[in-house]
Amino acid sequence: MRVLSLGRWLRAGRVPPRGRVRLNSGHRHSGHRPQAPPQGPAQVPPRQKVSVEVLDHLEHLALVDFRDSEGVERLQKAIQFADQLHEVNTDGVEPMDSVLEDRCLYLREDDVTEGNCTKELLENARETVEEYFVAPPGNIPLLKLEEQNTYLQGSK
């Protein structure tokens, strides 16, 4: 199959690369080939270290644990990735909540149209008593970092 250049559609003053460009498929490519426009950040943003306190705070908020160094590393990478956002100039730009923002969110009439499905809803819960979902005692805060036997405690 003859390989055609996208050059016709992607001109915009781009310089064709010097010399022959060898494509993966092994076809010799002649003519203009658009240079891939520079993508990605100019430099990788510096890595910010997240303190153990913040990590612990996150575990409490999310009620999900990091489990091991890989989990923490994942977060660090995620933050570093997200830091690229700061390259964009957003002065005077309003945040966008929804793509349907120029339409009115409607409200339906406050009429009861469905319900009475207690039995079905309780079926999926593991622990119920009569018509109640049963939870262990509340108002007991999750163990503080000092009291835990978790990965974060070890890394402190």
Binding site: M1, L4, S5, L6, R8, W9, L10, R11, A12, L23, S25, A36, P37, G40, V50, V54, H57, E59, L61, A62, L63, V64, D65, F66, R67, G71, R74, L75, A78, I79, F81, A82, Q84, L85, V88, T90, V93, E94, P95, M96, D97, S98, V99, L100, R103, Y106, C117, L121, E123, N124, A125, R126, F133, A135, P136, P137, G138, I140, P141, L142
Partner: protein, 526 residues
């Protein structure tokens, strides 16, 4: 009628005329599902209920009163849609054993029109991923790994005749749905699309994947990932079928307040012959780093196709494209952190045995129920939502989102009707290669071309275009204006007709399809 046939043009007619019955169709599909079990496309196969639905449909056809074009048609649904009485797992331990008490609106609509639900398809856990490799039920295999076309191009690893090919991924996260449609086990499947989750596997599995405009199809019953970007996706073997499905599913739903109230009229796609009034935009930023030269070539060829047919083809710019994946990363993890908070073991789903306190029970349940990918996103999301980070990350990402959406707005206002872009950076990777990188890295790489359409809420469709050097499908993406699905699908249908994408040649299908085996016939009705 063969399992390969296009729904609208051939199967429906065959059912009406009695040349095939719904039960026959259903049985053939169920048998094929059994013999393609190694694809791991299905999590749950609802054999009994499917046959019952097929029988009921048959009764209706006998009385001459079918409910519509979808009556008796076997379909599959991604396992993150609630289906009453059927296990809905989202491929996660958190929801293993969870039997939904209700049908998602889209599922209900399909059932109301007589469709036969064959089962729930496999996905990445909670639809997070781009390979359908991270669910608890194992990865989905791309049916093309077992096709004659791929095997012919594979370098044999050894001299052994029955060596299993190095199978390739199906793409994600709706990989199961795409594989199910691609391997002829159903005529259409529902997927979901948040960052490309319907179009990506559609491209890798060689099927049509439609992401409708945000607000057109109800999300009620779709277990949410990112409320402001999720949409139910449609996977079919040809564009006409996608239009049929769209017609049955679109429209306002009082149970989903993010669906628009405008009247939706189902449409039949015209057979476009004159493209001279069309303006096709080629966004230069979609020539992303890592785009394979093969796909670049197909993209270029497609542009030429339109130009030679008389359409106006122009280069356009969407300057903030390269930030869309970063923006998505922040908004997605933030919304995920919020949406996953409902899984605490109390009302449904997995519950830990820990009893000391509510919070410790919640924490243990979530530790046991979620995999690394989900937990990672929840923690990242919570980080971005911390008071000290809220403005810096979350609000900033929302501002960048507006810039991305307005990029598209500018281009469409300048007279461009449809954008033409690649869907994926390359053809499907072998599984062993794909898992070398972690989920987040892969998603960041693979979603780059599909993600921006979700940011802006625009409709987009993958149309299978050609086979790569390795014998695997490659697709191209069309992005349209909001709520202009008719125009988008009309152009996609024209393109589909031009490219005549080859039919997959699978040994298993040959065996089951005792009807006419059509050699190299195009996926669409010609």
């Amino acid at each position: 009628a063969a399992l390969k046939d296009a729904l609208r043009s051939q199967v429906s007619a065959a059912l009406k005329e009695g040349r095939v019955t719904p039960t026959e169709l259903c049985q053939r599909c169920l048998a094929l599902i059994k013999s393609t079990k190694f694809l791991n496309a299905y999590i749950t196969v609802t054999e009994e209920t499917a046959l019952k639905q097929a029988e009921e449909s048959e009764e209706r056809y006998k009385r001459g009163q079918p409910l519509g074009i979808l009556d008796g048609i076997p379909i599959a649904v991604k396992d993150n849609f609630n289906t009453a009485g059927i296990e809905t797992t989202c491929a996660s331990n958190m929801l293993k054993g969870y039997i939904s008490p209700y049908n998602a609106t889209v599922v209900q609509k399909l059932l109301d029109q007589g469709a036969v639900l064959l089962g729930k398809t496999n996905l990445d856990e909670f639809a997070m991923g781009s390979g359908s490799t991270d669910g608890v039920f194992g990865p989905v295999r791309n049916p093309w790994s077992y096709s004659k076309q791929y095997k012919e191009k594979s370098i044999p690893k050894s001299h052994s005749e029955d060596k299993e090919p190095d199978w390739v991924i199906s793409g994600g996260s709706s990989g199961g749905s795409a594989a199910a449609v691609s391997s002829f086990t159903c005529f259409a499947a529902l997927g979901s699309d948040t960052g490309g989750s319907t179009r990506n596997p559609a491209a890798h599995c060689g099927v049509v994947g439609l992401k409708p405009t945000y607000g057109l199809i109800s999300r009620h019953g779709l277990i949410p990932l990112v409320n402001s970007m999720d949409v139910p996706g449609i996977l079919t073997r040809c564009v006409d079928d996608a239009a049929v499905l769209l017609g049955s599913l679109a429209g306002h739903d009082p149970k989903d307040s993010t669906t628009i109230q405008d009247d939706f009229k189902p449409f039949e796609l015209p057979n476009l012959t004159d493209v001279s009034k069309l303006s096709i935009g080629i966004p230069k930023e979609y020539h992303a780093p890592g785009l394979s030269s093969e796909i670049l070539a197909f993209w270029s060829k497609a542009a030429d196709l339109f130009k030679n047919a008389g359409a106006k083809v122009v280069e356009v710019s969407l300057p903030h494209t390269r930030y869309s994946i970063v923006c998505y990363h922040v908004l997605c993890t933030a919304e995920v952190a919020s949406n996953m908070a409902r899984f605490d073991g109390l009302e449904y789903g997995h519950r830990s045995d820990v009893k000391d306190s509510t919070e410790s029970m919640y924490a243990a349940t979530r530790r046991e129920g979620f995999n690394d990918v989900v937990r990672g996103r929840i923690l990242s999301g919570n980080y971005f939502l911390l008071k000290q980070n809220y403005e810096k990350y979350f609000v900033k990402a929302q501002k960048v989102r507006r810039l991305i959406a307005s990029d598209f707005g500018k281009v469409f206002r300048s007279g461009v009707d449809i954008l033409l872009t690649p869907t994926t950076l390359s053809d499907a990777a072998p599984y062993t290669e794909f898992i070398q990188e972690d989920n987040r890295t892969r998603s960041a790489q693979d979603d780059i071309l599909t993600q921006a359409a979700n940011m802006a809420g625009l409709p987009a469709i993958n149309v299978p275009t050609a086979l790569s050097e390795r014998g695997l499908p490659v697709g191209l993406q069309f992005i349209g204006r909001s709520f202009q699905e008719k125009q988008l699908l009309t152009v996609a249908k024209w393109f589909e007709k031009q490219v005549q994408f080859p039919v997959i040649q699978l040994e298993e299908v040959k065996r089951h399809d005792s009807g006419v085996f059509q050699q190299q016939k195009s996926a669409s009705f010609s």
